[in-house]
């Protein structure tokens, strides 16, 4: 409603200016028309007749009429009607502006400033809160990191212990296996030697029997075998 009223006021002002101002907008009359108009107007006052018009005093009077059209009123002297309207318009405008116009805009500006100030305060507050939360998160993150590092370190140490333990056990097992293997080898070698010895003795005896084709007594056989084996072993 208020907006419509203001719009209507402005429209009325426009119509007033362009409508009523139509005549006023026309540029002023020409010098010739002014002179003739004034001459016609004052013709009767001067009592001019075709007979006396050529007299010097009448020529001067007519000349003054023409001069008055050329000589404009001093432009620096204000016209009273314009002072009343223009000065009055400014005074009334000032009163209306101080009463309504200015406070309305100033109020909006102040409200905006207050809102912006409040919003900025809130933003500051939110920012400091966010900062606090961030620091807390950072602290927690740092804690988590150090905890993780501790866990990793512990795991590493445990792994190290485990590794050395396993290594020791493996080494022990290897040593044991080596011992076992050596023992097994010895046993196998001894067994093989025993087997070899009996095999060889049989072969030797058989061979000897065939060579000498004679039976030797047990003692001579043994000695012979022993010598043979030693001989074989040294080879």
């Amino acid at each position: 409603m208020k907006k419509r009223l203001i719009f209507a006021s402005v429209l009325a002002g426009l119509i007033l200016t362009f409508g009523l101002g139509g005549n006023a907008m026309a540029a002023g009359e020409s010098l010739g028309k002014c002179s003739v108009d004034d001459y016609v107007e004052k013709y009767g006052e001067l009592g001019l007749t075709p007979e006396n018009i050529a007299q010097e005093e009448n020529i001067n009077a007519i000349g003054e009429i023409f001069d008055s059209c050329i000589e404009a009123p001093s432009p620096i002297i204000p016209e009273i009607n314009e002072v009343i309207w223009g000065g009055g318009a400014f005074v009334v405008l000032l009163a209306l502006m101080l009463w309504k116009g200015f406070p309305a805009v100033q109020k909006i500006m102040n409200e905006r400033s207050e809102k912006i100030a409040t919003d900025l305060d809130e933003a500051d507050k939110a920012k400091s809160e966010a900062q606090a939360v961030k620091s807390q998160y950072e602290a927690e993150l740092a804690d988590a990191k150090s905890a993780a590092a501790a866990v990793i370190e512990e795991a590493r140490q445990q792994a190290e212990v485990l590794r050395s333990d396993l290594q020791q056990r493996a080494e022990a097992e290897i040593a044991e296996m080596k011992e076992q293997a050596a023992a097994d080898i010895d046993t196998a070698r001894e067994r093989a030697m025993g087997d070899l010895q009996s095999e060889v003795s049989e072969i030797v005896v058989g061979a000897a029997e065939r060579v000498v084709e004679a039976n030797l007594d047990a003692e001579a056989q043994a000695r012979l075998i022993e010598n043979y084996i030693n001989q074989v072993g040294s080879n």
């Binding site: 006023a24 404009a72 620096i76 314009e82 400014f90 405008l93 000032l94």
Partner: protein
């Protein structure tokens, strides 16, 4: 009047408009009066419209009103009167817009007349400013203090007061309102004459030669732009000088 064979209207006919209402009375209305009334309606309408628009971000017409207030506050009052001048911002803002709108009709089509090319409002406002700054001077410094500070500026060798005091008297109490009014009036008269000259020249040369009208028409366009600047500048100068005089009356030490 024949100037260089051109039919140039008499100068008075460019500034004096026939009455169209209440002829012959002190309330006679003419084109000048209409421009003043229109400047009145525009200033008030601008602020009432801007005052009815709420929103975090100013838009459209609010920019003009709020920008105007900020401009007067920051570029005029803050520079000349300091924080004490804040309460005079409404007065100075109204003055600025009223003068500006009265001036800018110089380039508005179909009107094309700066109302301040008539002496009425410049002298009325200058006298109002004279009353206000003298009142503020007496109010803030006391009658004798104001007279003393105005006529005997501190820091001047005493012997020079023989010369300085009469100059200051004329300057502060007589010349100031006149110079304020004449500066605005004369600038608008000169601007209007310039535009009319180039317009008449363009029209005449167009009628006779066509091509000859190009240069004055270009100047007419250029001068129209220049007069927009002058309209703003003269409103600004009138307002800032008012603020300077008021500030000087409130703070004599500056």
């Amino acid at each position: 009047m024949k100037i260089l064979a051109l039919e140039f209207p008499p100068v008075s006919h460019l500034f004096e408009w026939p009455d169209f209402a209440f002829e012959g009375t002190p309330l006679a209305m003419n084109k000048t009066v209409l421009v003043y009334l229109f400047a009145f309606a525009l200033t008030l309408g601008l602020f009432l419209l801007a005052g009815s628009k709420k929103g975090l971000v100013p838009r459209g017409i609010s920019h003009v009103a709020e920008g105007g207030i900020n401009f007067v506050e920051d570029s005029i009052v803050a520079q000349t009167m300091g924080p004490d001048g804040k309460k005079y911002v409404p007065f100075l803002t109204t003055m600025f817009f009223f003068i500006f709108f009265s001036n800018i009709f110089e380039v508005i089509p179909f009107i094309q007349f700066p109302a301040n090319a008539r002496m009425a409002v410049p002298i009325a406002m200058a006298l109002m400013v004279w009353v206000i700054y003298n009142f503020l001077g007496v109010k803030n410094q006391g009658f004798f203090g104001y007279i003393k500070n105005s006529l005997f500026p501190p820091g001047v060798p005493k012997a020079l007061y023989i010369i300085v005091t009469p100059i200051e008297f004329f300057s502060v109490f007589i010349i100031r309102p006149l110079s304020l009014a004449i500066r605005l009036w004369a600038n608008m008269v000169a601007g209007h004459l310039l535009l009319v000259t180039f317009a008449v020249l363009s029209a005449t040369l167009w009628d006779s030669t066509y091509v000859g009208a190009v240069a004055p028409a270009a100047m007419l366009i250029l001068m129209t732009g220049f007069e927009i600047l002058v309209s703003f500048l003269q409103a600004f100068i009138f307002t800032i000088l008012t603020a300077v005089y008021m500030g000087g009356a409130i703070h004599p030490e500056h």
